[in-house]
Amino acid sequence: MGRFVMSAVAALVVVVCATAASAASTIRIGGLFAVTGPAAFLGEPERNTLEMLVKETNAKGGIHGSRIELFVYDTQGDATKAVQLATKLIKNDKVVAIIGPSTTGESLAVIPVVEREKIPLVSCAAGIKITEPVKKWVFKTPANDHVAAEKIFNYAAKLKQKNIALMTVSDSYGSSGREQLKALAAKKGISIVADEVYSPKDTDMTPQLTKIRGAKPDAIICWGTNPGPAVVTRNLKQLGIKIPLYQSHGVASKKFIELAGSAAAEGVTLPAGKLAIYDILPKNDPQAPLLREYDQAYRRNFKVEASTFGGYAYDGYRLIVEAIKKSGATPDKIRAGLENTRKMVGVSGVFTMSQTDHNGLDLSAFEMVRVSKGDWVLAR
């Protein structure tokens, strides 16, 4: 009996110690994603990716022996909820870093919270205002829109296309793109001869395109996310307009070709994030192996192809993990580590951060591709 009590006590002590030890060495990371609501197409793959990666890290024994504990909340794409949940992550869950939110509006709303509480935030939203001007605690993984815009203009300049028509969607993605395109065109000496918009649910863009035809541009740049750009592509074919068409990186997936139809999409050129086209990248591309691995792991876990959006969370997580490995697991050290990221290969590109650049991507994040016979080919 006495021995039994002794060993029971001993076992209890061991259990308590073990819990204490593991509590001391878990790293708490927060995620804020719009898993439901209008931006669910962003939030869902982001959450899936993050959960997949954390499971993988823990299965391999964590970071330097510390397990990762993940807290993910659904913001429903609502900025007010995002702020509440960010506060909850920081105050209740005591996370050392946050990945997300998914949209620019939510990210801008959360920035004052993390700046005040001094917790590093790696946003998954593309808006340029998130990291420009640079905020001490805020980073982001998607490339800025103007990088994609510049890629298109450089390509157009090579083909001596001087007069460009714009056809942008009237949501935040389109209007941000429109601003960037116009600002950049002025710098590059390209003239915008028509500037038309359409609404996200428009089903017929022939009036705008008829007007654009009247302006006789050398090329048309359409900036939107599916299905609008597919309708524009079909309408161009319907009107028999032969002007070259550029799309944005927002439709760089097979879905676009499927919706527009391969006949109408033939020849459409766009800057694509490399995840969509890793099959056709040159052998020596630094990202290709990682992209393949990510896509295949995602397909195994969720039965659908990986999306660029999930890649934003992928990069956010990898950046934080690298920062922890290098510097340590306190908010302060993670922040310093993030800022010192050098040539880290990710899904969206190769990241090199600095005090003045909290995004860290350059023109190499995109590759110009063209639709040919229902598939992408590199356009150089």
Binding site: Y198, T203, D204, T206, Q208, V231, K255
Partner: protein, 292 residues
């Protein structure tokens, strides 16, 4: 410039034909029940998305997929009337209208769960080579839209003016109580009106999906535009709503082309507000005294 204007008008007419079909659906239910069915747009969505579903998932031929989609959408419409409108038929029209809004959110949500959030495309009925008409172009699918719209309007007219149940339905719209007194089964007529308008909505969805593509949320905007068409037409289930839809389509298209494309949707709603304020009885009807 004249080519451009012709193109605007042709584009406008083809979108307008769709608005007309949806608008007639609104009008039929309004006339038999006195409520505006804001779930009308969802039947447009159901028609298109179910055709896609049967076509690409079950690999059925296009015709079979279309017939099945219309039949199922009609069944949803009938079920909708049975479950929401009939049990509450003594409720005020305002409550019923709010119920239709709720039902539209429910139908949309279920469609999202069943068919996902992706956009899907349907093949054109006959080819995708554009036809040129005096310098402007349109697709064979546009001819289908015009043809089917005309056909449906003719059938509608015949039904409402030359068949017993059509006449009975019109009687209900004039005076429900009196119609009931002369032996018309008003409840059945209401059910009929839901069946007809959901079938019409789904047809509109099917014939437009090859052009516009379809997804779980296409119903909202199309439903509102159809509603505008019906308001312009004074909620008539005949030619006035058709003209209303065509007018709306052409004005939108001309506005987008010649003024600014930023105002395209605004144009529809400005017209809606103007009509409601200035001529609430519709553009073409003489003012009526309010029925009591």
């Amino acid at each position: 410039m004249s080519h451009q204007i012709l193109q605007y008008i042709l584009s406008g007419l083809s979108t307008g034909a769709i608005y007309s079909l949806i608008g007639i659906g609104f009008a039929i239910i309004y006339n038999s029940t006195g409520i505006i069915n804001f779930a009308q747009g969802e039947f447009v969505m159901l028609g298109g998305i179910m055709t896609w579903f049967f076509l690409s998932v079950f690999q059925l031929p296009l015709i079979a997929a279309m017939v099945l989609a219309i039949a199922l959408s009609t069944a949803v419409g009938v079920l909708f009337e049975r479950l929401t409108i009939r049990p509450l038929r003594n409720a005020s029209p305002l409550i019923l209208v709010i119920i239709t809004i709720g039902a539209s959110i429910l139908i949309r949500g279920m469609a999202m769960l069943i068919w996902g959030k992706d956009t899907h495309s349907l093949p054109m009925f006959t080819g995708s080579e554009p036809l040129t008409v005096a310098g402007a172009t349109l697709l064979p699918q546009h001819l289908w839209i015009f043809g089917i719209t005309l056909f449906i309007i003719a059938v509608n007219r015949f039904y409402f003016h030359h068949s017993i149940s059509g006449k009975a339905m019109r009687a209900c719209s004039h005076n429900r109580r009196a119609a009931g007194l002369v032996g018309i089964d008003v409840k059945r007529m209401v059910l009929f009106s839901f069946a007809i308008s959901s079938a019409l909505g789904s047809v509109a969805g099917i014939i437009t999906a090859p052009l516009t593509m379809t997804s779980y949320d296409v119903g909202i905007m199309l439903g509102l535009k159809g509603f505008c068409a019906a308001i312009i037409g004074g909620m008539s289930s005949g030619i006035a709503t058709v003209v209303g839809g065509l007018l709306l389509g052409v004005l939108e298209s001309l506005g987008a082309g010649m003024v600014s494309s930023g105002y395209k949707d605004a144009i529809a709603f400005i017209i809606l507000l103007l009509i409601l304020v200035i001529r609430p009885q519709g553009l073409f009807k003489k003012a009526e005294t309010e029925r009591v």
